[in-house]
Each structure stands twice: as structure tokens, then as C-alpha cells.
């Protein structure tokens, strides 16, 4: 068992305030961040364990002034480096310095295909700048993925979103249906689309490579979350805590270790948090006897815990789960326009650490 991918959450600072953000709700607890030498050590330890790809994400990873140094460190180790960014704040000179440091790929987010709506969802004026950033990425010759999180406010424009991405020269387009963790779960009732909206979006095609991230609330079976718990991915949060997925810390019954105290190797191989849901031995029915147990790994542990209070339960998104009604009720509520929660009632993450 070896990890292939490190997800380096460099900071939770971000100039945007998207209502579906997957960052933790208690953002204020993450002001202390790993130093540059500590991140470089994380990259080395990850590579020694088998990691071949590093995703630099956040929050907004550009908020770290040492980003180019970390990209260079990853490339010295031969890692494939991917920057997952809102494009704010980024200027051409900095993008060039990242390319020079060996950046392999840029994944740029948009919130919608129209300026007003994009800026309203992002919570900051950013649309025109994002278009500019996309043009710089192409001019510099880096491969570009444009990704957009889909939800009720923008899903009817999914086709325009694909056209926008194509016109900006995206090599890949990712239409990611909202995953309901963190802020997104808080705002679920105002974000969840209807089945009809979803069906229109999922049939879209493009001349670019188009990827759809499925909406587990509308699927028969759950998502194979992280390709299985502690099976391929390691997430390191801004404060140095290593996790099997972005939101694993929301499972408050588990304990996770910090790279400041333990090596990544020990955490990956020996820590309770990583071993807790590895493989299939932990499963109860209906997962235990299910043919799909090695296909979807019981779905998402964080979702089970958030919705049922039991992290070992089958993901309620699975139609075979005894708790599936939690999902079907949410779906039903979304389909009835008169019971929809007003957008004005959404909770927005507060930007931490200033500098938007």
C-alpha cells in the first residue's frame, strides 16, 4: 500500500468566499501554517513513500509567498506539480516564476460563465481577472484545466460554462457537482439542484476533454471517495495535520497526527486515523456483503458521520443504505421551489488572514 498523490493544502486563507467551499467550518483554528522548510520536508517524505503527484491547493495557495519555492522543491523530486487556484491574486510575472520553477499544470476555477453571477458566487470581483489569468497560462504554454463547481445557481448555464472554457483554450474542463461537506453542507438546501437540472448538465460534451464529477445525491451508488480511505491520497492541512481526505477532521471520533511530530511514513503506515477505514474489514452490513465493496469502498466516511453520527455507517448516498431517506428528503426538498431556502440565508466563510 503506497500513496500516489499528495494534496498540499498550503493555507486556508482565500480572497473568495464560495458558499460550497470544502474547507473546515472552524477556519479560525488554522492560522498557524507550516513553514517553508517544513513543507519541503513533507514533499521529500511523501516522495519517499511513493507519491508521484503534488497538488498545491488551499484556500488559495497563491496566498503563500513561498509557492514557487515549494513547486521547485517538488520538481527537484520529480513530482508532477499541479496548482489549484482561483487566479486571485496572480500577475503574469508571478505565473512566469511558477512556470520557471517547473509547474506542470494549472487548474483555474471559475464560478460561472457570466461576470455578475461569477463575482456574486465567488464573493469578490474576479471574473475579468480570471479570464486574463487563463490567457496568460496559455501564452506561457502551460496546460490549463478550467474547473467549475456546479450547483443550483449556475448549473443551467453549464453549456455556456463549457463554451467559455473552450474559448479560453482550456485543455481540460471539469464540471464538478458540489460535494456536500463543510460550508456546502451548511448551505445544502440553497445549493442542491433538481434532477432535471442535473440531467441536462451531465449530457454535455466538448471538444476539450470534459470531466464530470458526479452528484452523489442523485446516484444509485455512492462515490468511491478518495478511491478508498488512505489508499492513494494523503492530504496535509495548513497546520501540518495529515489526513486521508480533505474533511477527515470533521469525524471528531478520530485522531490525526501532525507532520511536525511524526514522519509521514509512520502516519501513513501505522497511525490509527489512517488505518481505521482501510480495506473492507471495518464494514458492517449492507457494505460487508456487497459486491461493490471494493468498487466504492462504502462511499464517504465524512458524509456518513455528518449525516448519521456514525462514521462506520454505509454512506447514506447509497440507495442500499438504511439512512438513504436523509438524502432522498434533501432531494425532494430541492425539487419543491416553494420550500427552497433563500440564497440570502447562506452562510459565508469569512476570509482569514486578510489580503484579498
Amino acid at each position: 500500500m503506497r500513496p500516489y498523490t499528495l494534496i498540499a493544502e498550503l493555507t486556508y486563507r482565500c480572497p473568495l468566499a464560495c458558499p460550497y467551499c470544502s474547507n473546515p467550518i472552524d477556519l479560525d483554528n488554522y492560522r498557524v501554517e507550516l513553514s517553508t522548510p517544513e513543507w519541503l520536508k513533507v514533499l521529500e517524505e511523501a516522495e519517499a513513500l511513493g507519491v508521484v503527484q503534488a497538488h498545491f491547493t488551499g484556500g488559495e495557495p497563491l496566498a503563500r509567498r513561498d509557492l514557487a519555492e515549494l513547486v521547485a522543491g517538488a520538481r527537484r523530486l520529480g513530482l508532477y506539480t499541479n496548482l489549484i487556484t482561483s487566479g486571485v491574486p496572480l500577475d503574469r510575472a508571478r505565473l512566469e516564476s511558477l512556470a520557471k520553477a517547473g509547474l506542470d499544470h494549472v487548474q483555474l476555477s471559475f464560478q460561472d460563465s457570466e461576470r455578475d453571477s461569477n463575482d456574486r458566487i465567488a464573493g469578490c470581483v474576479s471574473f475579468d481577472h480570471k479570464r486574463q489569468v487563463a490567457q496568460w497560462v496559455k501564452a506561457i504554454g502551460l496546460p490549463l484545466t478550467i474547473n467549475v463547481v456546479l450547483h443550483r445557481d449556475n448549473i443551467d448555464r453549464a453549456s455556456d460554462i463549457v463554451s467559455l472554457a473552450e474559448s479560453l483554450g482550456a485543455d481540460r474542463i471539469e464540471l464538478a457537482n458540489t460535494q456536500y461537506h463543510g460550508w456546502a453542507l451548511k448551505n445544502r438546501d440553497s445549493l442542491l439542484p433538481t434532477k432535471e437540472q442535473l440531467d441536462r448538465a451531465r449530457t454535455l460534451t466538448s471538444k476539450a476533454q470534459l470531466f464530470h464529477v458526479k452528484a452523489d445525491y442523485f446516484s444509485q451508488y455512492p462515490k468511491a471517495c478518495m478511491d478508498g480511505w488512505a489508499r492513494r491520497f494523503i492530504v496535509v492541512a495548513p497546520d501540518g495535520v495529515a489526513l486521508p481526505c480533505h474533511s477527515a477532521r470533521s469525524i471528531t471520533t478520530l485522531k490525526f497526527e501532525n507532520v511536525r511530530q511524526r514522519t509521514l511514513q509512520w502516519i501513513w503506515r501505522d497511525s490509527d486515523g489512517f488505518n481505521r477505514f482501510r480495506g473492507t474489514d471495518w464494514m458492517a452490513d449492507p457494505c460487508k456483503g456487497c459486491d461493490r465493496r471494493e468498487t466504492d469502498f462504502g462511499g464517504c466516511r465524512c458524509q456518513s458521520f455528518a449525516l448519521t453520527g456514525n462514521a462506520e455507517a454505509t454512506d447514506p448516498a447509497c440507495s442500499l443504505s438504511p439512512d438513504h431517506q436523509l438524502i432522498s428528503d434533501a432531494r425532494l426538498k430541492a425539487s419543491k421551489a416553494d420550500s427552497q431556502v433563500d440564497v440570502a440565508e447562506r452562510a459565508f466563510r469569512r476570509a482569514i488572514g486578510g489580503d484579498p
Binding site: 511513493g50 508521484v52 504554454g141 502551460l142 496546460p143 484545466t145 481540460r172
Partner: protein
């Protein structure tokens, strides 16, 4: 047409499994010996016919249809252009 790796795609030797991986945004593909030999010749300077010739000189059992089909398959996945 002279195949080469698509932008943002590169080969990396994996010490753990002693094999090559084809790395691209968000994914990695494990390559067997044949696929590795083919991909290392996809340098944007050789045509498919030249790649086939080069492989036939090295491996007696190299087959043009198999080589062509692997290149087409990887092109379909956006890994080669």
C-alpha cells in the same frame, strides 16, 4: 502524423514498482514494458511507421497493429497528440 506526449503529460520511472508511470493532471497510468518502449519513441519527430520500424529492430515480435492501436487509445484519452 508524428505522435508526442500531450502538454502536461510526462513519464516518470517509479522506483517502488520498477516501472514507468505516465503522469498527467489528476491521474497516473502504469505502463507495461511494451507501452513504455512505444511512448519513449513518441518524441514528435518520428512518424508511426518510423516508431514501428524502430521497435521491430529491437523486438522481433513487435506488431504494427498493436503499436498503432496503443497510440490511438492514448490519443483518445488525451495523453498523446
Amino acid at each position: 502524423m508524428k505522435p508526442k506526449l500531450a502538454p502536461g503529460v510526462r513519464l516518470r520511472f517509479d522506483k517502488i514498482n520498477q516501472e514507468y508511470l505516465l503522469l498527467s493532471p489528476e491521474r497516473g497510468l502504469r505502463l507495461n514494458g511494451t507501452a513504455t518502449a512505444i511512448l519513449r519513441l513518441c518524441d514528435g519527430e518520428r512518424s508511426i511507421a518510423e516508431i514501428v520500424d524502430a521497435l521491430k529492430q529491437r523486438y522481433k515480435d513487435a506488431r504494427a497493429d498493436e503499436i498503432q492501436s496503443l497510440i490511438e487509445q492514448l490519443r483518445g484519452r488525451g495523453l498523446i497528440q
